[in-house]
């Protein structure tokens, strides 16, 4: 589903450059402070991964896998939030 607005960082509320999920992912890696790490850790723990794992993957192997992966996660999360928002508005 399409989002109504640009993607906002779920941790610090910063609007990524283009408002796209992948840019938000880049913002998260670029910042890389504890709050951002913790958020990512929580999201990818299920896949036995961590923020740092994604970081090292991104840095030691050519290509862009970690960003894409995190971008998808952010996208899903944003959609979930929007859905929840709609729900609460209905009520």
């Amino acid at each position: 589903m399409a989002l109504s607005g640009p993607i906002i960082c779920p941790v610090c509320g910063k609007k990524a450059k283009t408002g796209s999920a992948i840019d938000c992912a880049r913002h998260m890696f670029g910042t890389g402070d504890q709050p951002h790490r913790k958020w990512v850790d929580a999201q990818v723990a299920g896949q036995g991964l961590s923020f740092i794992d994604l970081l090292i993957e991104q840095a030691t192997t050519p290509g862009n896998r970690s960003y894409v992966l995190l971008g998808e996660i952010i996208q899903k999360d944003a959609e979930k939030r929007e859905a929840q928002k709609k729900e609460s508005e209905k009520k």
């Binding site: 450059k17 880049r26 913002h27 890696f29 670029g30 910042t31 890389g32 402070d33 504890q34 790490r37 961590s50 923020f51 740092i52 970081l55 090292i56 991104q58 840095a59 030691t60 050519p62 862009n64």
Partner: protein
């Protein structure tokens, strides 16, 4: 010896860019100049620092009772005598304030201070140090970034998972699309060594804390204002109660604008015994316990079209941060930014990771991450040109920045003379004719910033300020916070002030290096002072000049359509130069009109709307002729030419000196200056085993100065002297590539590496 030519020179000035002696020259050639190293105060004690022999260990207990019993010992301090504040120059980011200098809990590198002693003589202090007993619990240590990020690596700082200290991401354009458009993609892995600042004056300080709770510090540094702010932070004092004096400074090169053991320990000792305490580092301490240029591991992937058009580049970098952050975070950002320089990319992406290790912390050093970036970039570009059979100079030219080039979200290039640099280097290569069989030429391009825009120090002050006061006899007092560490900023500011006010350099007295008497200024780093303090100085001089001319108008009763100006101490109507007044005479009169108040001009500068990095960028291209002994691998530099764009030159002698000096340091980084560690221990902490260029090794450093005009700089000036630390290592590598076809991926290039590379190549055949 050296050739200096000027391409498209500007209109001549009265003072600017003329042959002006360094204003501190007299003091320096007669031995009168006193450095912190020479400061001696009444009742002064001498301090020595006990240093950790372990790369990583818990401090369980320190027993200094025996040391205190030694006759002549006045104080011993340990981390327990401090507030235990972990400080850092990135004050805005608590995570990055990680260095206590006198740690309470544990040590993280060999040479880290553990305790300090103050005694009536240096020798007694040294003996006392040996009497201190420290009980360590040695911890497992890690020394290389790629080991430190492994899952099972020892944790150096609590909460820093996998020892990752800082991460930086830079990206613009569409990288993936760019790579899709590329006909040819090349990937390379590089390794860049560290480098010691090796200031001739080792780190030293004299601190004096008095019962009125005021602190005065003489300190060999690059930014008295930073020292004042950082010391206030670690001591819990008010900045205003701390006076930092930076007398003549015996070199900095990026290594003297953070707190060091000398300033911190001498202060803690002085606060304990209320006497001045002097600490001077030995050369060995200066090597093992200050900071160094950041060693880096570089992965660079570059995509280009058949015709040599650059499409996209992505770089992944791990840097050896050593035990603490220091200025490492900035180096990590700048290396990523300048790895794109001086070229246009459809898409550019950089991921940098600074990793803690149990080694000497790394930090800023002349070039600030760019020498590493250029070592990799300029060699890879040379190889790509060869792979595609293209002219390496024309391929560079085709993709180079121009006036108006936009680096999305980062910078807009206002002035850029690199195109002419290509012409000059081509001319030089042509003029060399046929080279001897054992010689070859390598080239390398680069650009650099003119001061940083970032404010991680979180200062509420303008980045630079200046105050110009005109005395009744026409002499001028110029107060600036800029720090002259040898680069000649005092002279540069005097020139700008004299040119603007229309007086002579000898009329200007420059006051700098004292937080009690000079306005705050971020100091000497990132090539910022000429542009930033220069702008503030020019603004202050213009302010003072305006006040004087207002009075001159009233005096002369001239029709207001006439313009008044001042040149060579003569205040006159521009249209009728013969009509005017002597500068000094006029000032005397003007003071009466101001109820006796001096004419005071104020100026300040803080960059605005100039992107993320810097207000302006310098450009340069360098060619180096290299001789190699094929059998022994010994490298000799024979000749060099640098085409250089620094906007409008201001301090002629200073400019030449800075360019020659930067070249010698850059050449050293390329093939001599080497910092090998074994189990966290630096193996050559002395000037016998640490090799630097000496007079016989230094080749001619010819210069072609391309004069452009930088709208943001004073009189059109921008950076000079730091950027030239960047290209040389790659130029040497490229010379070897052209002669032997070998690709050197680790610097410095030591002779043994050359021999091995040649062997390898022979075996492949």
């Amino acid at each position: 010896m050296n050739k200096y030519t000027v391409i498209n020179p500007h209109e001549p000035f009265r003072v600017l860019n003329t042959h002006v002696h360094n204003v501190d020259g007299w003091a320096k050639v007669t031995g009168r100049a006193t450095y912190t190293f020479d400061v001696k105060l009444p009742g002064m004690l001498y301090g020595k620092i006990l240093r950790s022999p372990h790369p990583h260990a818990k401090i369980k207990n320190i027993d200094f009772s025996k040391a205190m019993e030694l006759d002549g010992v006045k104080a011993v301090v340990t981390g327990k005598d401090t507030l235990g504040v972990k400080q850092g120059i990135w004050r805005r980011y608590k995570d990055l304030c990680d260095e206590a200098i006198l740690p309470v809990d544990k040590v993280r590198y060999i040479g880290e201070p553990v305790a300090a002693v103050a005694a009536v003589t240096e020798e007694i202090a040294e003996r006392a140090i040996d009497l201190i007993e420290v009980d360590y619990e040695v911890l497992p240590a890690v020394f290389e970034p790629l080991d430190a990020i492994k899952k099972d690596a020892p944790e150096i700082h609590e909460g820093f998972e996998r020892n990752i200290n800082v991460t930086r991401h830079i990206e613009w354009g569409d990288v993936d699309e760019g790579f899709e458009e590329a006909d040819y993609i090349r990937e390379d892995w590089f390794r860049c060594g560290g480098q010691a600042h090796m200031c001739m004056e080792t780190r030293c300080a004299v601190s004096s804390y008095t019962p009125d709770k005021k602190l005065t510090i003489y300190h060999s540094n690059q930014s008295p204002y930073y020292m004042q702010g950082l010391m206030a932070g670690v001591l819990g004092m008010r900045e205003g109660d701390i006076r930092v004096i930076g007398p003549y400074t015996g070199g900095g090169f990026g290594g003297k604008f953070e707190l060091d053991g000398a300033i911190f320990c001498s202060t803690i000792l002085s606060m304990k015994c209320y006497r001045p305490v002097k600490i001077v580092f030995t050369r060995e301490e200066d090597f093992i316990a200050t900071k160094r240029r950041t060693p880096m591991f570089y992965y660079s992937r570059t995509g280009v079209k058949k015709d040599g058009t650059f499409c996209a580049r992505e770089a992944k970098v791990f840097t050896n941060g050593g035990a603490y952050t220091g200025m490492g975070a900035t180096a990590l950002y700048l290396t990523g930014f300048f790895h794109s320089f001086p070229y246009v990319w459809k898409g550019y992406r950089y991921d940098g990771y600074r990793v803690y290790t149990n080694t000497l912390p790394s930090t800023s050093m002349r070039g600030f991450g760019a020498p590493q970036a250029m070592w990799c970039s300029e060699q890879q570009i040379e190889w790509i040109a060869a792979d595609l059979g293209l002219d390496p100079i024309e391929m560079r030219r085709k993709n180079a920045h121009q006036e108006g080039t936009i680096l999305p979200g980062q910078a807009t290039i206002a002035s850029c003379g690199i195109d002419q640099c290509f012409d000059e280097i081509k001319k030089w290569i042509k003029s060399k004719g046929k080279l001897r069989a054992n010689r070859s030429i390598g080239i390398s391009a680069c650009g650099f910033m003119s001061g940083g825009i970032f404010n991680w120090f979180d200062t509420p002050y303008s980045f630079s300020s200046a105050v110009v006061t005109i005395n009744q006899d026409g002499t001028v007092e110029l107060h600036v916070g800029a720090q002259d560490i040898g680069q000649g900023s005092n002279t540069t500011m005097a020139i700008i002030c004299a040119e603007t006010l229309g007086v002579k350099v000898e009329d200007i007295k420059v006051h700098s290096g004292d937080t009690d008497h000079c306005p705050p200024d971020l100091g000497a780093w990132g090539s910022r002072q000429t542009l930033m303090t220069g702008n503030a100085t020019k603004m202050a001089a213009e302010d003072a000049k305006k006040q004087l001319l207002e009075f001159a108008y009233a005096q002369s009763g001239l029709n207001i359509v006439y313009d008044l100006d001042i040149k060579d101490r003569w205040v006159h109507a521009v249209a009728r130069p013969e009509r005017g007044y002597d500068f000094g005479e006029l000032v005397k009169k003007a003071l009466r009109g101001k109820d006796g108040q001096k004419i005071v001009g104020r100026g300040y500068y803080t960059p605005h709307r100039k992107g993320m990095i810097s207000p302006a960028y310098s450009y340069m291209l360098q060619g180096v002729e290299v001789e190699v002994d094929e059998e022994t691998g010994k490298i000799t530099l024979v000749d060099s030419m640098t085409a250089h764009d620094c906007g409008q030159p201001i301090n002629h002698l200073g400019l030449i000196g800075q360019l020659e000096g930067a070249f010698s340091m850059a050449a050293g980084y390329g093939y001599l200056e080497y910092m090998p560690y074994e189990d966290g221990k630096l193996m050559n902490p002395n000037l016998v085993d640490y090799k630097m260029i000496r007079a016989p090794e230094m080749p001619p450093a010819n210069i072609a100065e391309i004069d452009t005009y930088e709208p943001e700089g004073p009189y059109g000036a921008k950076e000079a002297g730091e950027g030239l630390t960047n290209p040389t290592a790659a130029a040497i590598g490229n010379a070897l590539f052209h002669r032997f076809g070998v690709q050197m991926k680790e610097c410095p290039i030591r002779p043994e590496m050359v021999v091995n590379a040649l062997k390898e190549k022979a075996q492949k055949k």
